[in-house]
Symmetry: C2
Subunit: 313 residues, 2 copies
Amino acid sequence: MNTLKDMGEAGLIERLTRRLGTARDVVVGPGDDCAVVRTADEEWLLTSDPVIEGVHFDSAATPQQIGHKALARSLSDIAAMGGTPRWALVDLVAPGDTPAERLDGIYAGLSATADEHGIAIVGGDVAAGPVIELHVFAVGSLPQGSAILRSGAAAGDGIYVTGALGGSRLEGHHLSFTPRLREGRWLRESGWATAMCDISDGLSTDLHHLAAASGVGMAIRLASVPCSPAARSTPDPLTHALCDGEDFELLFTVAPEHLADVEAAWQGNAMAACTRIGTVTIDRGVMGIGAHESCSPLDATGYDHFGKEENGS
Amino acid sequence: MNTLKDMGEAGLIERLTRRLGTARDVVVGPGDDCAVVRTADEEWLLTSDPVIEGVHFDSAATPQQIGHKALARSLSDIAAMGGTPRWALVDLVAPGDTPAERLDGIYAGLSATADEHGIAIVGGDVAAGPVIELHVFAVGSLPQGSAILRSGAAAGDGIYVTGALGGSRLEGHHLSFTPRLREGRWLRESGWATAMCDISDGLSTDLHHLAAASGVGMAIRLASVPCSPAARSTPDPLTHALCDGEDFELLFTVAPEHLADVEAAWQGNAMAACTRIGTVTIDRGVMGIGAHESCSPLDATGYDHFGKEENGS
């Protein structure tokens, strides 16, 4: 079996880059000290995300899924600003005895997802390390001043999520999700979203992120939170929908005068489902509204990379 | 002792980002899904580099040195195209029991180097993993069409290196080096360099990289190769200068009609030393010319991340 150690660094890079195509606006692709890219007078979105063996995937993940997830995580961040993804770099870390076929599969996953979204992988680096990791750095673009930030929500805005939430780890959704680029761009072009982020840490935690960035509170109708089939197969779907990480759906707010516009226009666009789950409030804090209008604080109980136990607010 | 596990992911990010300043052309810094940056009509340099515990540094490295090295590696790539560094993102991987003070030191090193070169760290991500790693993604800029590529060397060009080579690991130079941004930019502005790369894998290996990219050969006067004090303290300085990695000096070529121009103009600019070490040839391959004009192939024997044993050419 051909391993990294057999082919060496140069052989690995040659093997990985020969399948990468060229693309519009790429002046110099892989192989020089830097990639060189060119564009018109736009604003740029820069984001990076790690995908680490034992943390973001385990032995059940196929190599193609690992590659897909690594790139799609960064694309989800670009979607969450309303941007168009353009280029990516990939840092690969792997033990020396990793079979070459495993890396080929990872890169096949990266390439397929890059092709699907029209972006070019223009460089990166490789190094030896104890476990397999991919660090994807992605660059997106959008017209000046049009990025949808986390800080724009105001009291009275409606709160929406795309798709259905929870159980991403139970059903493998975290390895195969579709980044909501189409929906993010549509919201940016419409001008109707006041704030947005992607749901990566779990809805309850990301609600706190959006509320804190905007300096507002949020009241969530718990019965309205859309639970995924995986969450619904458990005894407590709502807890999964609120607390599980890696949904990679969009969470956004819309000003009161555009609620009807968004809901009417969304239908005709063959996008992921869109569900209103609550309202932005003047009072700080995130509240869950349950049966009989009972109201209680909704703690941020999503995933924390360093296992902090008290993660409320 | 305060560890990553105590402060959690949000606490860590808050701790790391609160010291990052804002900078010109940064529309949105850390804290949103992506950073947003803006610029005039230039070309962009995109590069990424990993720095991994046990590979790129060991227990003798101070946290500040680790942070410096992580950023300076990417800056060296931007220098090697003649660019100006602008923004960086940092992915941090660390075990949960890492002391917070160690991370503070790493970020102090990153910040000091960023400040020194006028760049802004605009985002990144953190994740748990088995060893400490930094993955730095850097963006540079330069006027359209002015990047100095690896592919421009032609027969008859002179071959130069900055600084002195070898022993970077012996003396800790790999943790404290100055990326040759000033020299790279000067060469780009002069228009005199035909090809360039940085010396990261060892001079012999990087000569092969430059020769292969340009489709030429290279003849190196071995007596002219500048050996560092650390290399000279060993029994075989030349082997260290040819084979050791992580010098992070520049290797570049200059057309015959500009050799005198470069050498005369270089002096007055208070830059790192510049030494002519050979000539670009029509015949492929990299040759070393020794005593009495003896000529023998100079194999690429520098560092390979996956320990490949046969690494010639």
